[in-house]
């Protein structure tokens, strides 16, 4: 397919470096898109309780901020965004809505599972970039900021009762596996 490895005419002395950076930005962009939708799905169902709605809205706004930072990066670094963005959006909303329908604790368990995987994913990327020794200060700073805020969400959700959710263990496992699979797919497509 013609968009497999688009090389912009802009300076890209090392194609493999551009490919790696593209992959990082593409996955994160897709992930943040899905994360925004997950919170929107949860708010759709649980929005009536004021306190919950406030917490969810705060977390959603932080994800929206991450997403807009990544939008800028996608355009500046000439990255091809994930072709399955509509899929990630629908899947995220569905995940948020379904787990919220199972109850507030289930919604929090979903958040914990997703943020756990995403936090680990950001850590992997940061480690990878540092190991390669590339000069990518801006990108690294963004990844670190995102990781810190995702782990904050994880703590908030745990405090709000994620572990009390019904079927907590299988639910968490299924969601984690799904997220990891989605990450692998988004790296390529």
């Amino acid at each position: 397919m013609c968009f497999r490895t688009p090389k912009a005419l802009a300076d890209s002395p090392d194609p493999s470096r551009k490919a790696k950076i593209d992959e990082i930005i593409r996955v994160d962009h897709a992930g943040e898109t899905a994360a925004v939708r997950i919170y929107e799905g949860q708010m759709f169902v649980l929005g009536r309780n004021k306190e919950t709605a406030e917490t969810l809205e705060h977390m959603r706004m932080q994800e929206v901020e991450h997403l807009s930072d990544l939008d800028v990066l996608v355009a500046d670094r000439r990255v091809r965004p994930s072709a399955l963005l509509p899929v990630w959006e629908v899947a995220g909303f569905a995940l948020g809505a379904v787990t919220a329908a199972m109850g507030k604790e289930a919604a929090m368990a979903c958040t914990v599972a997703v943020e756990d995987v995403i936090g680990g994913h950001y850590n992997d990327q940061i480690r990878d970039l540092l190991a390669r020794g590339w000069d990518e200060e801006e990108l690294l700073a963004l990844l670190k900021k995102n990781r810190d805020e995702e782990l904050e969400h994880l703590e908030t959700a745990t405090e709000l009762g994620a572990e009390r959710a019904p079927l907590h263990a299988p639910l968490t496992q299924i969601i984690k596996t799904g997220c990891k699979a989605a990450i692998e797919v988004a790296k390529v497509i």
Partner: protein, 371 residues
């Protein structure tokens, strides 16, 4: 053992006559003039592009020079070899290029895209609308290769690029061109519309390039008119954020233009290489062509909101000589590629009222002209 001229002469005297080739042992005439060799390269480097790096890539230099020999030798390794020799490299330098003939075609495409980018950057883009920027970009990209089009060699280059072993590289280069053009036109999208915009522009670009191959108007004015109409067609779709259906339709129209073009252009080459696989290849290409035709019509129908199959049946009724099958289109388009006609250009008046289907009007109209 120390070899001396005397010893070697003694050995040679013992050889049979046929082995005693007239080649001298060491000849000053055969060795290149190293001073001149180095100087000619530096001069070439200085004369080429001053803003390029100090590191002078011999491959790029050879390919640039080889473009001057395309008239004489065609898009072949012979042209690359001639270019290499002009620069003082050995004639066998074409061996550097794995892809052979196609390397030259791809280099021409890359230089054209670079020229398009630099031309666009020099224009007052803020004062132009999005459509105008796209039109200017496609025009710049195509104008850079206009000399090859006028002399008829670009059709052969496109056919070479359409061959299966090179198709992926060609589409990558086109993808880069289209992405660069949208970026310069101001697109900073990061959602599904990224894909729909590039798919649409790919279709516009491919159909315009095909149209240009058999355009004999003064300064390709008919082509620029065609381009203007195609961009006007797609600008309505391009502005919306893409839904999955939009993206599919955009890619469908883009790909069907490319497939139809590839089929019609590659067919002469395939026939030239007729050998053991000709039957299978012919039937495969034939079905590809007919699929491309039908796909194109279906997409045009979908875009215009009609039931699929309407335009196919309508066209068969109007012009019985031109079938919706690949054979007819291929035969007509083959004529288009092989012998540019100087009939009046009425191709975009063909199936009037079709939306994005008109971008396929090029080969349809050409086939109708020859039918």
């Amino acid at each position: 053992m120390i070899h001396s001229r005397g010893m070697i002469r003694a050995v040679r005297r013992c050889l049979p006559a046929w082995a005693r080739a007239g080649r001298p042992l060491r000849s000053a005439a055969a060795a290149p003039n190293w001073a001149e060799f180095g100087r000619s390269l530096t001069e070439q480097a200085a004369g080429h592009r001053d803003e390029e790096d100090l590191f002078h890539d011999p491959e790029l230099a050879i390919l640039d020079e080889a473009l001057d020999y395309v008239e004489e030798h065609g898009w072949t390794r012979a042209a690359i070899s001639a270019g290499a020799q002009k620069l003082g490299y050995p004639p066998l330098s074409h061996g550097m290029f794995e892809k052979g003939d196609f390397a030259l075609v791809r280099h021409a495409m890359r230089r054209a895209t670079e020229a398009m980018a630099s031309q666009l950057e020099a224009m007052p883009l803020e004062a132009m609308t999005g459509d105008e920027r796209i039109i200017a970009g496609v025009r710049a990209r195509l104008e850079h290769l206009a000399p090859f089009v006028s002399s008829g060699s670009w059709a052969k280059a496109m056919a070479l690029g359409a061959l299966p072993q090179h198709a992926l590289d060609t589409s990558t280069e086109l993808g880069v061109t289209v992405d660069e053009l949208w970026y310069l036109a101001g697109d900073r999208s990061a959602d599904a519309s990224w894909y729909s915009r590039r798919g649409l522009l790919l279709g516009v670009f491919a159909s315009t390039e095909l149209y240009m191959l058999s355009d004999t108007s003064e300064g390709f004015s008919d082509t620029w008119e065609f381009l203007r109409r195609r961009v006007a067609d797609v600008s309505l779709l391009g502005s919306r954020a893409g839904s999955a259906g939009d993206v599919a339709a955009a890619f469908g129209s883009g790909l069907s233009s490319l497939a139809g073009g590839a089929f019609s252009l590659a067919r002469p080459f395939v026939e030239a290489q007729k050998g053991h696989h000709s039957e299978a290849v012919h039937s495969a290409l034939g079905s590809l062509g007919s699929v491309a035709e039908l796909f194109r019509e279906a997409v045009a129908d979908a875009a215009a909101g009609r039931a699929p199959g309407t335009s196919a049946s309508r066209r068969t009724a109007d012009e019985p000589a031109e079938a919706a099958s690949g054979a007819g289109a291929a035969g007509g388009a083959q004529g288009e590629a092989a012998a540019p006609s100087d009939d009046a250009r009425k191709r975009d008046s063909a199936p009037a009222g079709e939306g994005t289907g008109d971008e396929a009007g090029a080969s349809d109209g050409a086939a109708a002209d020859r039918a």
